[in-house]
C-alpha cells in the first residue's frame, strides 16, 4: 500500500480504446482507455487500478477489494458452497457457470463473509463483475440475504460493495424475487437498528440498483461509477434522444441527491473506518 500515490509518467498517446479494461500494448504496459496514458503495469496495479494520469477508477476484482478494505487476514468467507441452479433450463447456462467458476475461482458473482476494518468486525459483501457482470440470480441473492441476516443476528455493521449489471436474466422470475428477498431482509436489519453502508462501484445497475444498492443508510460511490436503473442504450431507444454528458455517473447521482459522498478508492477504508467510529464502533 506504500506506493499507492506513486506515479510513473510516460509518453501520452491520444488513442482512445472502447474497451472497459485498459488495453495492453505489451506485457509490461497498460494503456488507459480514458486518457490514453501508457502506464507501467506494476504501477497500475500498485495504484489499485487507478490511472495515475486521469484518475479513472478501473474495475477491481473481489479479492483485491477485500485486501484493500479489510484488515490483513481478517476475512472469513461464508456460503462458498451454494450451487447455481438452471431453473429455466437455459441452454449453455450450466456450462457458462462452470467455466466462470474455474477461471475466477469464485462460486458466484458475490463474495460475502465477515472481516475487520481497523479492528471493528463487520459483515462484508463485495460483488465481482468478472462473474457474469455480477448479475443477481438466486445464489447472489441468497448470499446477500444470509449476510444481512448474519449482520442482524450478530448486530454487525453491514458493508456491501456493489458491482452488477442487474438481475440475472438466465434465472428469470427467480432472479426478480431476489430483489424482494434482499430488500425484506434489509427491512428487518433496519428494524434491529443496524448500520448499512453501500459502496457503489462500476457498474451498479438494474435490479441491484432497484434493491439493496439504494437502501444503505449511507451510500458512497467511487468516482465515475455508472449507477442507474435502466441502461443508457434502453433509455436512448425509449426517449429517442442523446443523453447528457455525465448522465448516470456517480457525480450525477450525487448532484440529484441519490449518493451521499463520492470517495476515491484510496480513501475508502479510511472513510468507512470513520463512519463506523461515528456510529459508536
Amino acid at each position: 500500500m506504500a506506493n499507492i500515490f506513486k506515479k510513473t509518467k510516460y509518453v501520452k498517446m491520444n488513442v482512445v480504446s472502447k474497451q472497459e479494461a485498459p488495453s495492453v500494448p505489451s506485457g509490461l504496459w497498460v494503456k488507459c482507455n480514458n486518457c490514453g496514458e501508457v502506464i507501467y503495469k506494476e504501477d497500475f496495479h500498485s495504484n489499485l487500478k487507478i490511472c495515475g494520469s486521469c484518475e479513472k477508477h478501473f474495475r477491481l476484482d473481489s479479492s483485491t477489494r477485500i485486501s484493500m478494505v479489510l484488515d490483513e487476514d481478517s476475512f472469513e468467507p461464508m456460503d462458498e458452497d451454494l450451487q447455481t441452479r438452471n431453473v429455466l433450463d437455459f441452454p449453455g447456462y450450466d456450462k457458462k457457470i462452470k467455466g466462470l467458476k474455474e477461471s475466477t475461482h469464485l462460486n458466484e458473482g458475490v463474495v460475502t463473509g465477515t472481516g475487520a476494518i481497523d479492528g471493528n468486525k463487520v459483515a462484508f459483501g463485495v460483488m465481482d463483475s468478472r462473474f457474469m457482470m455480477g448479475s443477481m440470480g438466486a445464489v447472489v441473492g441468497e448470499k446477500i440475504t444470509r449476510l444481512i441476516e448474519k449482520a442482524t443476528e450478530e448486530s454487525l455493521p453491514l458493508i456491501i460493495f456493489t458491482a452488477s449489471g442487474g438481475a440475472r436474466m438466465q434465472e428469470g422470475i427467480i432472479s426478480l424475487m431476489q430483489l424482494a428477498k434482499t430488500s425484506a431482509a434489509l427491512s428487518r436489519f433496519n428494524d434491529a437498528g443496524g448500520l448499512y453502508i453501500t459502496v457503489l462501484t462500476d457498474p451498479t445497475s438494474g435490479g441491484v440498483t432497484a434493491s439493496f444498492a439504494m437502501l444503505g443508510d449511507i451510500i458512497l460511490a467511487e468516482p465515475g461509477t455508472f449507477i442507474g436503473f435502466a441502461g443508457p442504450r434502453v433509455i436512448m431507444q425509449t426517449i429517442k434522444q442523446e443523453l447528457p454528458e455525465g448522465f448516470q455517473r456517480a457525480e450525477f447521482l450525487k448532484e440529484h441527491g441519490f449518493v451521499d459522498k463520492i470517495v476515491a478508492r484510496a480513501e475508502i477504508k479510511e472513510t468507512l473506518s470513520q463512519l463506523l467510529m461515528l456510529h459508536g464502533f
Binding site: I174, L179, A210, G228, F229, I235, T238
Partner: protein, 260 residues
Amino acid sequence: MKAWDRVLNARNVNRPLSSDYIKALFDDFVELHGDRLYKDDAAIIGGIATLGGMPVTVIAQEKGKNLKEKVRRNFGSPNPEGYRKSLRLMKQAEKFGRPIITLVDTQGAYCGLGAEERGQGEAIARNLMEMSSLKVPIITIVIGEGGSGGALALAVADRVWMLENAIYSILSPEGFASILYKDSTKAKEAAEVMKLTAQDLYELDVIEKIIEEPGAGAHESFEAIALNITALLIEEISVLKAMPIEDMLEERYARYRKFL
C-alpha cells in the same frame, strides 16, 4: 396454449384494464393524487374504496384506454413519483388499518431520463423494503402484464394472484430476447423459455392462485371474473385479518425468502 399466446392475450387491446376492475370490484372509490414530493403520476391510480363494505386502499397500474389516455398515463409505465405515491398511500393504509389491494399491469418501470434523475431504482427499492413489513394485509393481482421490478414494486404482498392469461416476468420477452439472443424479434421463442405464464409461476410457487378467464379471455368474460375476484378478495382478506400481525409478516417474509 403457447406462452406467446398468453403474451398476446395479456396485451389484447380489448383486455380490461385496472380502471375497469376498480369500477367493478369496489364501491365508493375516492382517487387520491400525488407523491407529496414532485408530482402526480397518472400511470398509477391510487385511492380508498370499500370492498364488500370494508374500507381498503387500492393501488393500480393503468395503461389507458385510448391513445390520448395512453399518452397521459405513459402506457402504464410508472416514473419514480408513481412508486412514491404508492408508498405514501400504503403507509396511509397502514396508519388507518386498511388492507391494501394492488393491481399490476405494466410492461415495466419507465426507462426515461427524468426517471433516472429522480431515482427510479431508489423508488422501487424503497417500496420493496417497506412493503415487506407493512402491518396490514396486502393482496396483489396481476391482471395483464407484470414486467420486471416495475411490477414487483407493487407486488411484495401476502398473496399474489394472476389472471389465467396474465404474464409476469423478469423483463418483457422482447427485452429478454434482445439481451440473451441479441435479437428482440425472437420474443416469441423467449416467451416459451421464460416461465412467464400463470401456470408456470404457480408451479414455481411465485403465485398462490390462478383466476380463471372463461372463453377467449378476460375481454369476453369480464363480469364473471370480476364477481369471482370480489368474492376471493373478501374471503382472503378475512383470513389475513384473522392472523396475528407478527404471523402474517413472518409468512410474508418466508414467501420471498424461499427462492433459492
